[in-house]
Symmetry: C2
């Protein structure tokens, strides 16, 4: 088995090291990750400058890794297309420090690494530890290994699918179980913090308090609150298929005539 | 009516100027756009540095605009939350130079501006001219105005919906009509161009030839090839709902036990 590992916290983050070492128990692991934190980069790719790849070692180990001056998406594209010759069986992105839940997955570099793999037709999952505090990654890494085995043995994830996994920040004995979920609805209030700089000019920090609008037990946001590991199947088709028939009833030839 | 306009080609691009001046015929227009090109930024937001807002004029006009050192998503968030007091009725992102079709919308800054509006519960659309060549924006701008009127009058776009519009690069008389579409499947071949720099080191340029895998007339990629304006309804829920029942059959307690 050949597993490609990436993240958005950067190649030197603890989460990717613990994950890669655990996944090595299943086969060959290739690590391709950004040179620095790339959080909140969404599904960005690098078009306007060349990508550089450097061979480094994962912190405190002899384990080699590729470090890229790009986004998680760039890393996965490079990993598949240029840095490996052996076919990749699975792509795993993480372990992220901090949750990737609900609407927020659109902003997530971690999820976007797995999304890029799904676009290339490879099975993939993203895994995040739902806390910004110090917390060991080992339990989440072992769960990732078990899930990877499950995916590789079953081979029934449809092409274009990725799984988004969030692990609550709890002792293993306090975890209620695993829940298959959908993305919950999150909003933010007080989105910006407006401040004045030492030269009297205004600037804005993105801030915001999260508001979970979803109490549905099937929402990933609820599952994490209830001490479950959440697994949400995602795809990359943003089409709102259900709305197509209604829009077809709009008389848009009028718009053409006005143009 | 109050319309917020953004783009990803930057506040000084011709496409946003032509669009804003045309939409002003419908009411008040507030322009909030990036200070420079932000193509392929996906749905990124700026968390790690403060956002600055500067009041500028749209190229060659007396028309004011807000210029932000951020992404289209940042611009829409700032526009709604901080820079306007009057309620926003519609958000329009564009007119982009270059198509935003199929799987590529995930990388699109233009679409992400409209997506951010949809997340905030506002009706929105993104509009792109399907060429990288010089081509006048006036026809696409008039179509945008007619579509904006349609949306504002009908008021039946469900919350969380945005429309992704692509206009072919053709004389008005050559346009076949409007087609309501879904996102087509695109892949790229020869994704990276590998080169050697003057100091003998390897670097990679993202390149790639687009391969449209979809011949379905209902795909946006096909519609554009057949000289139609494509309109694809999008939403921001990446959940693959259809897969949830199948995943619930997986025995994932096994994974917990192994962890």
């Amino acid at each position: 088995m050949h597993i490609l590992v990436t993240n958005d916290d950067g190649v030197h983050a603890e989460g990717i090291r613990v994950l890669a070492l655990e996944l090595e128990k299943l086969g060959t692991v290739t690590v391709v990750a950004p040179d620095r934190e790339r959080s909140a980069t969404g599904h960005a790719i690098t078009m306007h400058h060349p990508l550089r790849v450097e061979e480094v070692r994962l912190a405190g180990t002899e384990r080699g890794a590729y470090m890229v001056n790009g986004t998680p998406s760039d890393c996965v594209k490079l990993g598949i297309e240029a840095l490996t010759t052996e076919r990749v069986d699975l792509v795993v992105s993480g372990i992220n420090r901090g949750p990737n839940l609900g609407t927020d997955v659109l902003y997530s570099g971690t999820v976007s690494g797995a999304l890029e793999a799904a676009i290339s037709g490879l099975p993939a999952f993203a895994i995040s530890l739902a806390t910004y505090e110090e917390w060991p990654y080992e339990y989440a890494a072992r769960f990732a290994r078990a899930l990877a085995e499950e995916i590789l043995q079953r081979r029934d994830l449809p092409p274009g699918t990725l799984l988004n996994v969030n692990v609550p920040c709890l002792e293993p004995s306090e975890i209620s179980g695993v829940r298959i979920t959908r993305l919950g609805l999150r909003r933010y209030k007080k989105v910006f913090d407006q401040r004045i700089d030492p030269r009297g000019k205004t600037y804005y920090w993105l801030a915001g308090e999260v508001v979970d609008l979803d109490d549905d037990p099937d929402a990933d946001t609820t599952a994490i609150r209830n001490n479950y590991i959440s697994i949400t199947p995602l795809h990359f088709d943003l089409t709102q298929h259900g709305l197509i028939p209604r829009l077809k009833e709009w008389d848009l030839t009028r718009c053409l005539a006005l143009s």
